[in-house]
Subunit: 406 residues, 2 copies
């Protein structure tokens, strides 16, 4: 397999255009608040949704629209989650109709998403009024403006694309994502829009995404809170000209490997830009008895508030790691656990066989002052491994969320 | 039943003395770091322990010592958790032997506990050297110094006592507790030492404590991290002269009601003094389909980092409450949920039937600026109710834990 990262995001795959504008949902803020992604032709489409019982109205509408396995456009607003209000479904449907009418496609082929404050009515007027210019400005280089349009408290836009080969044909998968709070593994995801020009059957596309998120977005946590509006959607329009992927096999494997390269990179971007974060934390667990154990342990470490605060302080307080492993629920053998910290500045082993080993605090602080920290945990029980992504807990997380609505 | 709160803590029950000293475990800090509680006679004893697989050495030793259902003394140091180090068991045993020898009792009758940093060797020398003066200073008014001796990042000591009647005899239960980080419900507890002069069989005492914590300490969360050293112990020496409680019945019910009054108050104290906390959060869920649902929902709300940060900012962001209920795992009907905030300054209803209702932001901010906030959640499904306790997430939590070890 040969998969390489290329420039771009949702417009890297053939036949996709995008745009992002400020339509006025965020009244007092000039940031773009409406994004649109459109395929030249109808595309196989799939999605996974939050498991939160409180679900945003757009998810309900999108789920109905994707029931047939196809879509051609995805629209997303930021600034209001369109959730827990009286007429959310109606507003989401009106949004899809306005997009459909401007593009000359059925409303059924439009994916809709919203992100922002929960529980406030969303006025559809600025959206409907903005759609003509949103459509007019669609461009094959619209990645950045679309990525900005879906951002909330994100400080950086998140876009990735890769190129790979299926049956001799060059294909592409790309995506954009928004973080950066209300993100917690094993239950849900966040807003991610993926596009591909590979030809793949809807059922195989759904299978690819569903399997992929167990190792990517579901292994990511910013704050332990599972959003009401999280969703990962993918559209694959077949314009690369490969023969249709409609079963398991080498072509499907190539597609899923390429998908994983995109989603794992988006995970790192989301974690590294978590609300208030100053550091990306990447916990790599090896030697687990099975995959479930590896994942449980890795997630427990990146979810620990105490460990996250210690990382903010560049404090090599490995007792926090052991503690989080101990309460994870995984049947570990404490006397076999080893822990090291690693970064661009080097690595330091702090625990072997479940007990502390002497290390230089100075050396450890140097390692932990970097922006990307790996926490290497060996369990000494088997061959399984897993990675989870998170970020540190900072003053700014508290600041951002102490007064989120104003 | 008539149970009344009285002055004191672990020394309120007849025949108990306590003391706390600075023995030198915290080298550069004058705070008392060693506490001792002693009963005049051997007492029925029971305990519950952390479910963290990483367990402090003192818990292992205490569990062995309580296997026979009796104890006469409890010793606890702060400043070092005696956990994840090479000779923890040895140090815990030496501590018990030194106490036993100074008191003239078997080491088997000593409960031992430690709290502080994980993963550093604990030097037994200052403990052994301190025990003679610790024993010499034992006093029936030693509540406060003992409560101080077990504190770590706590800012206030936590002690409660109540008086009640069993078979015409006046009995007492009292306790002291330490918080204030690494506290998370449904898995474990924290350090709590309870004493009583009631006569109760060890098996009934164990039953009483085990049932009580499901509604008290297991409904408490400061930061979602379950400690390695948590433990609730109780000694009941029978000196009140009531006829032995050795079965279910009115006497046992009276005892458990008194116990609950002590432990629920300690919960409020621990939550209100959580690391960095400025507010006590008390989530009261009513109208749940069953008790498990009520507890799950209440705990999910007080555990949400986003909601806790909003409370720090006195921001009536009730969408965070709905979100936390939605991902709790409880099978709620979102369209029936109501939410109000209440405090000494009044109350404000923010959500009915799962959607926002108009409210005065000014009024809400007034309610939420108080030090004790009740979050009233009605689920509209049945008759069950539950309460969970937590605290807000603040800059100081991050500060304390960004550099805990130094």
């Amino acid at each position: 397999m040969s998969i390489r990262v290329i420039e771009g995001g949702v417009c890297s795959a053939k036949g996709f255009k995008a745009n992002g504008i400020h339509c006025g949902i965020r009244k007092n803020h000039p940031k773009r608040d409406l994004a649109l992604i459109v395929s030249e032709c109808r595309a196989a489409a799939a999605a996974v949704y939050t498991t939160n019982l409180v679900k945003g109205a757009p998810l309900v509408v999108t789920k109905a629209h994707l029931a047939d396995g196809y879509a051609q456009a995805a629209i997303c607003n930021s600034g209001n989650a369109n959730t827990c209000n009286a007429n959310g479904i109606e507003v989401a449907e009106q949004t899809c109709e306005a997009v459909a009418s401007a593009l000359g496609i059925p409303a059924q082929d439009v994916v809709v998403a919203s992100t922002g404050v929960i529980g406030q009515p969303l006025d559809v007027t600025p959206i409907v009024n903005g759609i003509p210019s949103l459509v007019e400005g669609l461009s094959a280089s619209g990645d950045a403006v679309a990525a900005e349009g879906i951002m909330t408290t994100d400080t950086r836009m998140k876009a990735v694309a890769v190129e790979f080969t299926v049956g001799g044909k060059t294909c592409r998968i790309g995506g954009i994502a928004k973080g950066s709070g209300m993100i917690h593994p094993n239950m849900a995801t966040m807003l991610v829009f993926l596009t591909s020009d590979a030809a793949i059957a809807p059922a195989m596309l759904q299978k690819a995404v569903k399997e992929d998120i167990t190792a990517t977005f579901n292994m990511l946590s910013v704050d332990g809170d599972t959003s009401t509006n999280d969703m990962v959607t993918v559209m694959a329009n077949g314009m690369a000209g490969n023969s249709l992927i409609d079963a398991d096999g080498p072509d499907f494997q190539e597609f899923t490997a390429a998908l994983n390269m995109v989603t794992a990179r988006l995970c790192r971007m989301i974690a590294g830009d978590g609300e208030g974060a100053t550091k990306l934390l990447e916990c790599k667990v090896s030697g687990a008895g099975d995959l479930a154990m590896a994942r449980t342990v890795a997630k427990s470490v990146v979810c620990s508030s105490l460990f996250k605060a210690a990382m903010f302080g560049a404090d090599a307080n490995w007792g926090r790691v052991l503690c989080a492993i101990g309460y994870s629920g995984a049947a570990v053998d404490v006397t076999k656990i080893g822990v090291s910290f690693r970064s661009a500045a080097g690595s330091v082993t702090v625990c072997q066989n479940g007990a502390g080993v002497p290390f230089s605090e100075e050396e450890a602080a140097k390692v932990l002052k970097e922006k990307e920290i790996e926490i290497l945990v060996s369990l000494g029980l088997g061959e399984a491994s897993a990675t989870a992504w998170g970020c540190d807990l900072t003053y700014d997380y508290v600041k951002i969320n102490g007064d989120y609505r104003t």
